[in-house]
Structures are given as C-alpha cells and as structure tokens.
C-alpha cells in the first residue's frame, strides 16, 4: 500500500481541506486522520459507514494504595515528572504521570502499582469497500505518538487490499508528527505564504527529511501574499523539492466545509487548483515506481 501523508508544520494551513479533496479525487479506499489531538476529517466525509469504537490504552498510570503507604516519600523524591502530590497523603497526579514505573520500583512496601489507563478512543469507519481510521486522544493525555501508530495500523489491517492510502496529519514537528511520518511514501506539505508559514514549513521539511521521506510542497491561499508564495517556490527550487501547485483563497471553500463538503464537491477555483495538484502528486508516485 502506497501512503501519502499531508502535513504542514503550522496549523490551519488547509491540511484537512486538501486531504478531503484528495480522498474524493482518488476515490480512496483507505484513509486516516492522524491529528488525534484535534481530529476534523470525519466532519466532511459524508459517506455511510458502520462505526466501530474501541478504547485506546496508552501507558499505564500509577496508583497509591493508601492502606499500605507508609508515607516515606521515596516515590515523590524519585519521580521526574512531578506527578506525586503530597498533602497529608501521597497521591498521583494522573495528568502528569507518564507511567514509567519508577515509583513502583522504589516503593519499599509495594503501595505504588501501575494500572492500565484509557488514553483515548480509536474509531474505525467501514463500508463495503472503504476504510477510514481515526481516533481522539483523551483531554490532556500524552502518548499521542503511540495512538497515531495505532490509527495507521488499524487502517492497514482493515484495508489489506487497498493500494493507495491518504493520511491527514497533525500540526507541529513532535512525536505525533514523527509517528505519522514513519513508513509513508511521500509527505505533501501544505504551506501558507506568510513569515510564520515559511518558518514552519522549513522545520517540517527538515523533520521529514531526517526520516528520509520524500517531500512535495503546495501553497494554499497563495494570492494572500504573492511575494511570500514566490519565496516558497524558490526555496523549493534551491532545495530540490517538488513544488506541485498553488491554491487561491476562495470564499466558496469555507462555504463547502461548513456544509460538510469537500472543495471538489462544488464548482470553485480552489477545487480546480487542488485537482491539478492531485494529478501532479499521482504523477510523482507513478515516476517513483
């Protein structure tokens, strides 16, 4: 299965908008939303699906049995995450606990025990021929990288026969993004023509290249700052990165999204531009064969 991942570094540049359009254009049989912190792709996939939900267990969390605890404080001294509060009794702050198990290791009486903890929810949308995998991380949870890996595995397992998958990624460059990059064939970066957008684009390209992944770049809302769009094009040229197109700012795009549609479901200028970008990306995949 060939996998295309859509990233941006900066948030709000149009990853999900582009991903939804690509899914439609490719008539994709397998796709996933790896932005487990703030998933949105499901809002504009208007297809009939059976939804299977299951709890996602991240790393365990410690608990202290107050009947056994002798209040020696060793757990608190050794915890590197400030996850043990003391106010007459020792108590785990479950938001700070990363489940390392050091408290369990140092407790002389066995009062600290690691217990499994739900850290989010995995959702698998399925119908006759299509699989859509997504998840939602529990509020304030860590281990989003592990959940991203689960989302991708769930998709691959359910869609064994699909030959092409489209994955919507998350903003940033940290653990969920790195987990989403692992194993994909190409990253399409949706850049924004602004000083911030360019800085963030350079950092996400660096990150993708650290993991030896092929990168292509397109610019969204390119006409909001033509000069910065030109800088992005020349940056790509200088660094030998495929530049695959420009999408104009389009008020109709917002309308389509707010109707729960993708921008290729209606007739609009941004939709036309995305079609061209899609063709170029498919061409890059063909050439790589």
């Amino acid at each position: 299965m060939k996998q295309l991942l859509i990233l941006s570094g900066k948030g709000g540049t149009g990853k999900t908008t582009v991903a939804a359009a690509f899914i439609k254009l490719a008539n994709a049989k397998a796709y996933a939303d790896c932005d487990v912190d703030a998933p949105n792709l499901h809002l504009i996939i208007n297809k009939h699906f059976d939804i299977k939900k299951k709890d996602y267990y991240g790393l365990p969390k410690a608990q202290i049995d107050q009947d056994i605890c002798i209040k020696c404080g060793l757990c608190r001294t050794n915890c590197r995450f400030d996850a043990i509060d003391f106010n007459e009794i020792y108590k785990i702050d479950e938001f700070s606990c990363e489940g390392c198990g050091v408290c369990e290791l140092v407790c002389p009486v066995g009062a600290c025990v690691l217990k499994p903890a739900v850290a989010g929810e995995l959702m698998l949308y399925e119908n006759d021929d299509t699989v859509f995998s997504t998840a939602k991380l529990k509020m304030g949870s860590g281990t989003s990288g592990m959940l991203v890996t689960e989302v991708k595995n769930q998709m691959k397992e359910a869609a064994k026969n699909a030959d092409f998958a489209i994955i919507d990624g998350s903003p940033g460059i940290g653990c969920p993004v790195i987990a989403s990059i692992t194993g994909v064939d190409m990253v399409l970066v949706v850049a924004e023509p602004s000083v911030s957008g360019i800085s963030d684009m350079e950092r996400i390209i660096q990150t993708a290249q650290k993991f030896q992944t092929k990168v292509a770049v397109c610019v969204n809302k390119f006409d909001t700052n033509i000069k910065r769009t030109e800088s992005i094009e020349s940056f790509c040229k200088e660094n030998d990165i495929s530049f695959v197109g420009k999408i104009p700012y389009d008020i109709k795009a917002v309308k389509a999204i707010n109707n729960g549609q993708s921008i290729v479901d209606i007739q609009c200028s941004s939709g036309n531009a995305v079609k061209e970008i899609y063709n170029k990306i498919m061409h890059l995949f063909e050439r790589a064969k």
């Binding site: 709000g12 703030a38 050794n78 489940g99 000083v195 660096q206």
Partner: protein, 285 residues
C-alpha cells in the same frame, strides 16, 4: 497576571492575538510555548537575545560493567532500551528520562548524560520581553522546554501572554497550568467550532476562567459563535476577516505597531480581557 491563549485548531490566530495584545500593554512578557513551531519572535524581532540550552537526562551505559542481565530492558515502559548482540542499545529519541534504569541496574553500569533537545531565547522588543522555546527538529517532546519556559512568569503589574501550541494534549495542558485566565481563539468554520469545543472542555476540566475571541469573522454563518451562545461562553471580541490585516500579519509585522486603527482595536480588546480576568479572579478568591 498570566493569560494563556489557546485554540485547539491550528492557524486560528493564537499568535496574532498574543503578539498584538502584548504590544498594546504597558509592560508585558510574551512566552511562546508552541515550541514545535514558534512564530512570535518572527513578529517581535527581539534585541539583546540571550540563549539558554535545554537538556534532558539520557542513560549512558558503561559496557565494561554491564553484564547483560536485561533488567533495564524489561523495566523500560517506553521501550527505549534493547539488548542486541552483546550490548545494550539506547534509543535516545524515545527515552522519557525517568531515570528508572539508573536506579535499577544491579551492576551500576548506567549513568546519565545531558542531551540538548532545544533552547530558550530571551530578548526585548520595546515594551515586551520576548521568551521563545524552540524544540530541535527530530525531537519528540517539547514538554521539558515548556516546563522551563513557564518558570519565567509575570512579575506584579506585568501581564504574561502564554502562546500555546495547538491541540488539547499534554503539551497544551502544561501550558495553561499556571494561567489565571484563558483566551480561546476560534475561526468561523465547523473545524473551528469542533476544536473550540475541545479546548473549552479542557479549560473547564482545569477550572480556568476563560473567554473567546472570534477571529476572521464575516457576514456568513459562524459555527463558533453559535457554540459560544449556546454554551453561554463570554465572547471577548470579534476580529473581522480583513485583507489588509492578513497582509500585514503575513509579512511578519505587528498590526498594533503598524497601524493606528489596529492599535485601537487591540487596546480596547486588552482592556476588556483585563476587566474580565480581574472579575473572574476576584470571584475566585
């Protein structure tokens, strides 16, 4: 007073709001906690920048002392250690620096070294102290940088604006932990309102007083505004969608410093925010 600016969704205008609100304050600190993609410094272009490296502790094995018992490998819940061939391998990128392997090793073969994961830059831009956390590319977690950043908080009579990362995961939670008031920034799409709902739940979970700024407003239907009205969330202000604003901002300039019209908008917005924050904190205490 510490004011956190967050949004759930990326690109709604967190940095725009925090940079401009800080610019119109008497004295302010701007703290950029979006350490994966920090952008505030691109606007402030701070002077007299002092740089401080941020390190974490990573295990270091003395292969002469290691006898291959694998106790550390079994212990590590992050799978950051493996015994392959006849030596212990450490995967630095996934190590959480818990120190468990050091405590556990019966041979005392494991010590720790400092590993640089990023830096904090402090500088000045007019009335604003600019503090920026920057995570190195390829590193998994910026939480240690954020923890260090948040030690630089507002003095009395100063306002700190904490520019948060997108999302609602641990990294955002860390950023709002010490905030006295939270500003949620939302855009008028169903993505915007869906993610607004998430951060709204987050600030409620931590019992943080909060209000919403609606950004990029047009005449058209605004799902985020509808969400605020339905849930009786205080709307602090509305910033219209505006090409001129967009262009100034996309060129990395500070609206409130470039143009009197925007200076007035943000001054009155700041006044409103401070009034709300003071109200809320008095009710609390």
């Amino acid at each position: 007073m510490n004011i956190a600016v967050l949004s759930g969704k990326g690109g709604t205008g967190k940095t725009l709001m925090s940079v401009n609100l800080a610019s119109v304050a008497q004295r302010a600190i701007y703290i950029d906690c979006d350490v994966e993609e920090p952008n505030g410094h691109l606007y402030f272009k701070p002077q007299e920048v002092k740089c401080e490296e941020v390190t974490i502790k990573i295990p270091l094995v003395d292969t002469d002392l290691c006898n291959g018992c694998r106790k550390c490998v079994d212990f590590c819940n992050f799978n950051a250690l493996a015994y392959i061939g006849d030596r212990l391998i450490i995967f630095e990128e996934i190590c959480h620096s818990c120190g468990g392997c050091v405590l556990l090793c019966p041979q005392k073969a494991i010590t720790e070294k400092e590993k640089v994961i990023g830096k904090i830059e402090c500088g000045v831009s007019g009335n604003v102290d600019v503090v920026t956390g920057i995570l190195n590319t390829g590193e998994a977690s910026g939480v240690p940088i954020i923890k260090k950043l948040l030690k630089k908080q507002a003095k009395k009579d100063e306002i700190a604006f904490i520019d948060c990362p997108p999302g609602s995961a641990c990294i955002v939670m860390e950023s709002i932990m010490d905030a006295d008031y939270c500003i949620l920034v939302a855009e008028p799409t169903i993505f915007g309102s869906h993610n607004l709902q998430m951060v709204y739940e987050l600030v409620r979970l931590f019992d943080k007083p909060h209000g919403v700024i609606l950004n990029k407003c047009t005449e058209a239907y605004n799902p985020s505004e509808e969400f605020c009205i339905k849930n009786k969330i205080n709307i602090l202000g509305k910033i219209p969608f505006d090409n001129e604003l967009g262009e100034i901002n996309s060129n990395g300039l500070i609206l409130a410093r470039e143009n009197e019209k925007y200076q007035k908008i943000f001054t009155s917005l700041l006044r409103h925010v401070i009034k709300e924050a003071n109200n809320e904190t008095t009710i609390d205490s």
